[in-house]
């Protein structure tokens, strides 16, 4: 009985159809991105970490800590903190990627996707694109809040955009690390704890909130080599805002733009293939 069938694959149409063009892959990514954006529109509270949180942090840091933190080399704390707030908010908001993917894996929908003739990485890429779009929204909220409380930049339009792009690119690469975490989480709740255990220390042990000069030596070394410090210093440099890290000796602080691009490319190059490997492993049975 099976010997007849074993002349596989007899179905020529089936073979022809497996070849999948880039255009179709792109369409899959667009579909998945749109799906994730619809999710956000259904549960707008999901957006609180990129809308309400940035406003809160801006007000808290500028009015509560601002007066107490002197900037080595002079300059206003308002001008100093904005790049730091952008880096802080975008870093912590990548937690959304981890939670979103863990939620997807938790529900039956992933089986639906897996039985479809779609380009499977679109599940991950679509998620990362949707999260990048919310990160852009976050950047706008931070900028508008900053302008409202008195942040100013003397830079031209290109360096200003460049500063935002630098931080957004970093957040995008970090979202693939978050994807790895989400793909290895037993539940959305455990994925959320990633934010507090990894992302908050990452964001705070840096030059984002305070100049590193006041830290103990070992902590300053860690902070100066923290990628969050590199992107923050890079944005400060591009915006012409106070950048006291430039006077520290560490290489990333001397070359913040090269360092942050290097970190982002490195993180993306490691985390993206790793995430697709975790995805395959998690969905293989």
């Amino acid at each position: 009985m099976t010997s007849v069938i074993a002349q596989r694959p007899r179905n020529a149409a089936g073979n022809r159809l497996v070849t999948r063009g880039m255009a179709e892959q792109a369409r899959n990514v667009v579909s998945m991105t749109r799906r994730n954006l619809v999710h956000i529109s259904r549960e707008p509270m999901q957006l609180s970490d990129v809308t309400i949180q940035p406003v809160l942090f801006t007000v808290l840091f500028i009015y509560i800590f601002g007066g107490a933190i002197p900037i080595p080399g002079g300059g206003s704390y308002k001008d100093f903190i904005l790049a730091g707030l952008l880096a802080l908010n975008l870093t912590t908001s990548t937690m959304g990627t981890a939670v979103g993917l863990a939620t997807d894996l938790h529900e039956g929908i992933i089986d639906r996707f897996r039985a479809l003739p779609m380009w499977r990485p679109a599940v991950l890429v679509g998620r990362s694109f949707a999260d990048l779009l919310t990160a852009c929204l976050c950047a706008v909220v931070v900028a508008v809040t900053g302008l409202a409380v008195g942040w100013r930049t003397s830079a031209g339009p290109l360096p200003i955009i460049g500063g935002f792009a630098l931080v957004l690119f970093f957040a995008y690469s970090l979202s693939w690390v978050a994807a790895c975490v989400g793909l290895n989480s037993k539940s959305p709740e455990s994925a959320a704890s990633f934010g507090f255990i990894v992302l908050f220390p990452l964001a705070f042990v840096s030059n984002a909130m305070v100049p590193t000069q006041h830290m103990p030596g070992w902590l300053q070394a860690a902070a100066d080599w923290n990628p969050v410090s590199a992107v923050t210093a890079g944005a400060r440099h591009l915006w012409g805002n106070p950048n006291p890290s430039a006077s520290t000796g560490a290489w990333p602080m001397q070359h913040p733009i090269e360092a942050s691009l290097g970190w982002s490319v490195l993180i993306l190059a490691v985390a993206a293939p790793l995430a697709s490997w975790f995805f395959r492993r998690r969905t293989t049975e």
């Binding site: 009985m1 596989r8 694959p9 007899r10 073979n15 579909s31 929908i109 089986d111 039985a115 779609m118």
Partner: protein, 340 residues
């Protein structure tokens, strides 16, 4: 069998210590409907997961539409529609958005996807709810939408995993009607179910699985012939040893008696006036009858007839019947009463 559209051969699959499949094989000719019948945990869903490329077997081979499932899973996905057991829909999208998403991910153009989605929403009587979020759908609506999603690309092979489990009788009937319409259109269908009546109503051929093995196969008619055509349950006011003996001549097999002696159960060949005859026989034996029920065989009865064993931890029969058969429990099977 050269025209088999679905073919499984010697499938083995374990999840850790649990053996889900222990050598299942079957074949579904083009344009026909196979009912894969078995209790919870029999291995039905695992077999479907293998055939729909979601799981890889530890051993064995499978073909769908002539394509080797293990060698060319991506090609198989172009040929199949799947309605899985837990409705695999996106609760935060509307019904229409779900269908358009699935269609787009199946390589349909967006305009084509929209048209097809609207067509299927109409067919499944979901147009009124098309732009509502699926989270608010009832169980029956979700199943219908799930079925619609499996049909978007007009696939030649359909897998329906327990399409009516958990549905109320009315929703169940509607899903049956939809499946019947599909069957007429020439698709090949593999349907899994815990309900004998469902397999009976929809399938051309039934394969009964238990503990990951095929325990019987045949047409619905053949299977029911092999079990007794009906089943009787008697509840007595008080127990007495004479009861089982009294009805033994009227029934077709062993009479099982519950531990407390109050409930008798047996397979019977249905005949006119059977219930009256049974009550009279019990009356003559001096027994008071509280309740008597003659019913069509449940899956448990078929199992018992086919395998000599009851479904462990039963709870899978057709609704209340299953519950009563299960309630009688294993203790009853141990203390067999008189036999014919």
């Amino acid at each position: 069998m050269a025209d088999a559209m679905i073919e499984a051969d010697g499938l083995f699959k374990s999840y850790g210590e649990t053996r889900a499949l222990a050598g299942v094989g079957f074949s579904v000719p083009a344009g026909s409907v196979l009912g894969l019948l078995g209790p919870n945990g029999a291995g039905k869903t695992t077999a479907v997961r293998i055939l729909t490329t979601l799981a890889r077997p530890d051993a064995g081979q499978a073909w769908v539409a002539g394509i080797d499932v293990l060698a060319h899973p991506a090609a198989v996905r172009r040929q199949i529609g799947v309605a899985a057991q837990d409705a695999t829909l996106d609760g935060l999208l509307t019904g229409r958005q779900n269908l358009v998403l699935v269609a787009e991910l199946s390589a349909m153009r967006t305009s084509q996807a929209r048209t097809r989605a609207a067509e299927l929403l109409e067919l499944f009587e979901l147009t009124y709810a098309a732009d509502r979020v699926v989270k608010g759908y009832s169980g029956g609506m979700r199943r219908r939408l799930d079925l619609a999603a499996s049909l978007l690309t007009r696939p030649p092979v359909l897998f329906l995993d327990e399409p009516t489990t958990g549905l109320d009788p009315v929703s169940r009937q509607r899903v049956w009607e939809v499946i019947r319409d599909l069957i007429g259109s020439g698709v090949t269908v593999l349907l899994t179910t815990q309900y004998l009546d469902e397999a009976d109503a929809l399938a051309d051929h039934i394969v009964v699985v238990n503990h990951g093995r095929v325990v019987a196969d045949g047409t619905p008619f053949e299977l029911k012939e092999r079990s007794r055509s009906a089943h009787v349950e008697v509840t007595l006011a008080e127990s007495g040893p004479a009861a089982a003996e009294a009805i033994a001549p009227l029934v077709g097999g062993r009479v099982s008696v519950s531990a407390d002696g109050l409930r008798l159960a047996a397979a019977v060949d249905s005949a006119p006036g059977l219930a009256t005859a049974l009550v009279r026989a019990l009356d003559r034996a001096g027994m008071l009858v509280d309740n008597i029920e003659v019913r069509q065989p449940s899956l448990d009865d078929v199992f018992f007839a086919l395998t000599g064993a009851h479904i462990p931890g039963d709870g899978n029969g057709s609704g209340a019947q299953g519950a009563s058969a299960g309630a009688a429990g294993a203790a009853e099977r141990e203390s067999e009463g008189a036999q014919a």
